[in-house]
């Protein structure tokens, strides 16, 4: 049984075909799948690219060992497609077909899609887009984060910039592509638009959401962000993550009332009395000195206790949970932010649920991950293909 049959969801009745199986296409498809769409991950014999991405489960052979693939693929069907005719049959009636090709060797062209789904939308999520001089360039998360300037603000002033861990740029692109494709699908369902369409989404442009404001400031001749040090950003100070006796405390103090409350919390009467420290920018000038004070003061405290007491004083403080602490954060537990995804070889994995909580039609909580090709026979039969 396909997952959607016992889980209607807000996107029930929408069929999505992912022909790429990258992190970006996978996350886009995941949002569809978690909300009840029928998502077919069409994979080559050796499995799609996310199956080869770390982290891997020790002792589980490829292509089923990837935890990242499990995260991206719950509630989807896995189909190994024998030929082009079968692909056309699978795509019949699809609202969305996703690939990752920058304009060459498209596995299913827009014309072919129109033939099997009159209002189908083709979505290409690539590193750099379908046009432009970088179109054929090799991409990566770090490459895109470099070209958007996001990492130019991260790290020590004289050292190299810092590359964010994991697949963050691709996840952002998947999210952006979901907005774009949901918009196109809804426009067709509302009757505002008809016929085929080809969406061009790039990881690069998706991640400009983090730096576009700075770009406008630069164009206007105003100063733009630069590296000031780890966790240092103009003009907010204190801003940072400090070790306490039982974990890490996240601090952001911007306004005079937050600063005065922060001084009250930590017993910094002398600092509260310094007139110029009422201004965040002035505090930033003395950040090294103030950091030593804060660090010395919070080291023997409990991070959770400080965060709680700080929040009671309306200061934006929080614990910074480590990966193993995340699952027990009371706020996340209460809201069901994590749920078990199960895989026949990996067992149960605790992973984030869909972040948007629709009260009338919630997303799936957790779900099952299909082994490579597990749904091939059923999907091809359903599509009317002889095996």
């Amino acid at each position: 049984m396909s997952p959607h049959e016992d889980l209607p969801g807000a996107l029930h009745g929408i069929k999505v075909i992912d022909l790429a199986g990258t992190v970006a296409t996978g996350y886009c498809g995941k949002l569809f799948a978690d909300h009840g769409a029928d998502v077919l991950l069409v994979e080559p014999q050796e499995g799609c690219p996310t199956r080869r991405l770390p982290p891997f489960a020790p002792g589980v052979p490829a292509p089923e060992a990837s935890g990242m693939h499990a995260y991206l693929s719950a509630n989807k069907r896995s189909v190994v497609c024998p030929d082009r005719a079968a692909l056309m049959a699978l795509a019949s009636g699809a609202a969305l077909v996703i690939d990752d090709r920058p304009g060459r060797d498209r596995p299913l062209t827009l014309d072919e899609l129109e033939h099997c789904s009159a209002d189908g939308v083709l979505l290409s999520i690539t590193w750099f887009g379908q046009t432009g001089p970088y179109r054929g360039y090799a991409g990566s998360d770090g490459v895109c984060q470099a070209l958007t300037s996001q990492i130019d603000w991260l790290g020590e002033p004289d050292g190299p910039p810092v590359m964010p861990g994991g697949y963050q740029a691709q996840i952002i692109a998947g999210m952006t592509a979901f907005v774009a494709s949901m918009g196109q699908i809804l426009a067709r369902e509302l009757g505002n638009v008809s016929g085929p369409g080809h969406l061009d989404v790039s990881v690069l442009e998706s991640n400009l959401c983090f730096s576009e404001i700075e770009a406008l400031r630069g164009f206007a001749g105003k100063p733009t962000r630069e590296r000031l040090g780890v966790n240092r950003f103009r003009a907010t100070y204190p801003l940072g993550i400090y070790p306490c006796r039982d974990g890490w405390l996240g601090v952001t103090v911007l306004t005079p009332s937050q600063w005065n409350a922060f001084c009250e919390l930590l017993g910094f009467d002398d600092l509260a009395a310094v007139e110029r420290y009422q201004q965040s920018l002035e505090r930033l000038q003395d950040a090294d000195k103030l950091d030593a004070r804060i660090q010395g003061r919070v080291a023997r405290e409990s991070a959770g206790d400080l965060a709680k007491r700080g929040q009671a004083l309306r200061i934006p403080l929080t614990i910074v949970p480590t990966m193993d602490q995340l699952f027990d954060v009371d706020q996340f537990v209460e809201r069901g932010a994590f749920a078990d995804v199960t895989h026949p070889d990996l067992g149960a994995l605790r992973l984030p649920t869909s972040p948007f909580r629709l009260h009338a039609m919630p997303a799936a909580s957790g779900g099952e991950v299909a082994r490579l090709g597990a749904d091939t026979e059923a999907a091809l039969q359903q599509a009317g293909c002889a095996l």
Binding site: S149, V162, T176, V179, F219, Y242, P352
Partner: protein
């Protein structure tokens, strides 16, 4: 207001939805600026701020003082002719104005409402204060970036805002699809912090799979080499992220003798210091742009680290017509990045720039709600609508 809500509605506006932004002359969008002095107001500074101008194009703007009965009534009349309401106030703002989902539902039973506080509207943290930095910290994400000798490392000053904005647009579209299919509206609740958890999925999955989180290795990786950021001859930095043996062979083809002695992935990971030194040596002799060209021509993922002020002139973005130059009162010509998705015939249009305060009062309140000129004049006289910021406590008009 601010970043997340306006980014969410900007996506919808770019795709053709009619977005009515409601501000007031006293409580205007704080992305217009923060300084509340009469001089700041007189200099029209509220119309000159880049953050506001980046996030609000293609929207209508009305001012309504919601603390006055007639202002609140007019908001409810707008809700009655709308499909959805979105807000990202702190949790206590709407209740104080006697507004909220139940109130909106009373005037429009099938309304969709998207509410996006930092930690969500339920749970023990629902009233907690948060900036975009706080939500990144609370999501544990900083434990996945940076050098082990540094504290857990943030990747933005306000990561949570932009990401929540994207999720807000997504959530709205899903709820509108449910409305179209079933005729049912609903309340949608977003937590900025939960929106960031997918960005750390690799770390969360590793913890779940192995019981151990991934180590922080600076710019290195346990799975790829070379993987780092290298200083170039012109003082700029170059990202190189080799993710396959094919890319490694391509890099070796470009760097030649510099890296001839390195073997398979295991060897390269083992000798990371040597490998990084060899690549640094090669980079030191050429500008970052040349290094990027050489490596990319061979198929190696590499890029110079751009500065924000260079983005508008970026050749690739220029060729893709990513930046549109708009003309707006008070600031004149300024760029806006188009929607980060386009159809086969090119970027989505930007029809008009970010609105000035109350720019569409007449068009929306007169045109859409049918208020007469005399009624609009009354509202203006009583400070319920207007076109200029006002200090709290100042008399309207």
């Amino acid at each position: 207001m601010g970043w997340a809500g306006p980014l969410a509605t900007r996506h919808l506006a770019d795709m053709g939805a009619e977005i009515i932004k409601v501000e007031s002359c006293v409580r205007f969008d704080w992305f217009r600026g923060w300084e509340s002095s009469q001089r700041w107001i007189n200099d029209n500074e509220a119309e000159k701020h880049e953050p506001f101008n980046a996030l609000n194009r293609n929207k209508f703007d009305v001012t309504l003082d919601l603390s006055q009965r007639r202002g609140r009534d007019l908001l409810l009349r707008l809700v009655a002719v709308s499909d959805a309401v979105i807000e990202n106030f702190a949790g206590d703002v709407l209740p104080k104005l006697n507004l909220g989902f139940e109130v909106f539902k009373a005037v429009k039973p099938e309304i969709v409402m998207v509410s996006m506080p930092g930690f969500g509207s339920t749970g023990p943290w629902s009233k907690y204060r948060a900036y975009g930095s706080t939500t990144e910290q609370a999501a544990g994400l900083p434990h996945l970036t940076g050098h082990p000798e540094h504290p857990p490392t943030m990747v933005h000053i306000a990561l949570g805002d932009a990401v929540a904005g994207l999720n807000g647009a997504s959530a709205m579209l899903v709820a509108l699809r449910h409305l179209k299919r079933t005729g049912e509206g609903q309340f949608v609740d977003l937590s900025h912090s939960e929106c960031l958890l997918p960005l750390g999925a690799h770390g969360i999955a590793e913890q779940s799979l192995t019981g151990v989180p991934p180590p922080r290795l600076g710019n290195r990786s346990r799975h790829c080499a070379p993987h780092g950021i290298y200083a170039c001859g012109d003082g700029r930095w170059l990202v190189v992220q080799v993710q396959s043996e094919e890319q490694w062979r391509a890099l070796r083809g470009v760097l030649g003798g510099n890296v001839a002695g390195f073997g398979d992935l295991a060897d390269r990971l083992e000798r990371s210091d040597e490998l990084d030194a060899a690549i640094s040596g090669w980079c030191a002799h050429r500008p970052a742009a040349d290094a990027m060209d050489s490596l990319q021509s061979a198929g190696v993922p590499a890029a110079g680290v751009a500065a924000s002020k260079e983005l508008v002139a970026d050749p690739h973005l220029q060729a893709r017509h990513f930046w549109k130059i708009l003309d707006r009162p008070y600031i004149g010509q300024h760029p806006n990045g188009v929607a980060p998705y386009r159809l086969q015939d090119g970027p989505l249009e930007i029809e008009w720039p970010a609105p000035t305060l109350g720019q569409h009062n007449r068009e929306i309140l007169g045109g859409l709600l049918g208020l007469s000129d005399a009624e609009l004049a009354d509202l203006e006289r009583d400070g319920i609508i207007g076109n200029r910021p006002r200090l709290p406590g100042a008399v309207g008009g």
